[in-house]
Subunit: 225 residues, 2 copies
DNA sequence: AATAAAAATTAGATATGTCTAAAATAAGTT
DNA sequence: AACTTATTTTAGACATATCTAATTTTTATT
């Protein structure tokens, strides 16, 4: 069993290795300074922790160079990411939290260790592929789906997206979409989201702008770009 | 902000002060030995912790006698009990956990500190008055309802109960209950619960035994005795 | 290539929460 | 009341996780 701090360090390493640097590619190893910044601690403290985690077999530490995760560490990090994103999804979709206020709480919940809990929560939420921010949720084996889609209703003003899927295929909904010229593949820009009722103004690439109720945008899965 | 260990000590004190002793009344103060046993630690460690919590104003510590909670400590302890029991309810009612396998997980979840989360969860669950074990759930002000009712579906074989309420008042359900002679106030004994489909065999006080599907027992609120 | 700057590590200090063993106090017993 | 037993506290040790300051190593610059 790892302590909370150990888990946090492992997750920070994982996140840094995912991050794409200025040169356009992901780093091969994470440095203590960056890890320290992420965890709001000091590089010397991180060094100590990395040694401990390396001794336990979660990562490889090459002094003065950096750390990489072992397979064991990667598995555990993905587990943490999985828990974090599942709880974020729960908070937003079931408890009505705003997508921007769930991070801190999920940061605490992700440390609750119970595979049964995680897997049941996953089922309860309908095995979502992506969290409210559009980040992919690893499945119980740690596998990550690559398509990045999210509900149109969760987009913010200014985002340019393409319709990827319609999640609830009701005749009425499809007819409505068709009448507005919206179908799979349609590219559009979100102009503004109205906090009052969740409705949004959108502008399809080849057409005039119009408004969409939250009931509709909720069922549209879009991908970025 | 309290540490996890501080919260655990506070909760242990609270639990011990609730407990009714051999003499039939609750203790006036909790002793270090009992607290230590509950937390699987040593009395000397508890003494240290009690001093710290007393210094922070959560409890009054009379050396060699015991501790009582201050109003501040009582509030916090009730908050922890509230969180614990709400999560237990969530685990059983929404994720399908068995009532006997939720304690450990809830023990971890109760330390997630967010009033917004707690209150939203409460609403999401329909502001339940009692957890799956029949223990009362303090409301957001710390108030505890005194009636102890729970779903018949959560009772185990051997329990003798009285029907207190029907939670989902569908015509069909009420007709069904009526045809079986079940109504508010009916006393009955649970003979056996079948793990396979959740159905149960019950015996009303004045009548022959018969079986009840989980769909039905789920909607019956009963009280003990 | 020499030097300056940045980053990582080590060494030693501090705070926390736990422990064991010994001393102090309270409660029970004859 | 004196003695025995149980409980609580104190004192000192230890492991963990953090920090600052000093040292080592790597990277960048002239």
């Amino acid at each position: 069993m790892l302590t909370r701090s150990e888990e946090d360090h492992l997750k920070a390493v994982h996140a840094l290795l995912q991050t794409i640097g200025a040169d356009g590619k992901a780093a091969k190893a994470a440095g203590t300074k960056d890890i320290a910044e992420r965890l709001r601690t000091k590089a010397s403290s991180v060094t100590d922790m990395l040694k401990k985690l390396a001794a336990k077999g979660y990562l490889k530490h090459e002094p003065y160079y950096g750390v990489k995760l072992t397979a064991k560490g990667e598995t555990l990090a993905l587990q943490l990411v999985r828990r974090h994103r599942l709880w974020e999804t729960f908070l937003v979709e079931r408890l009505g939290f705003g997508w921007d206020e769930v991070h801190e709480v999920a940061e605490q919940m992700e440390h609750v260790a119970s595979d049964k809990l995680t897997d049941r929560l996953d089922d309860y939420l309908g095995n979502p592929g992506f969290d409210p921010h559009g980040d992919p949720i690893p499945d119980r084996k740690g596998k990550i789906r690559t398509k990045r889609t999210q509900r149109l209703s969760l987009c913010k003003g200014g985002e340019a997206v393409r319709i990827a899927a319609v999640s609830d295929t009701t005749d009425g909904l499809l007819r409505l979409l068709d009448s507005k010229g919206l179908r799979i593949g349609t590219q559009l820009t979100v102009l503004e989201v109205h906090a009052f009722d969740g409705s949004m103004d959108i502008k399809p690439k080849n057409g005039a702008a119009f408004s969409l109720s939250k009931d509709v945008s909720h069922h549209l899965q879009v991908e970025r770009g």
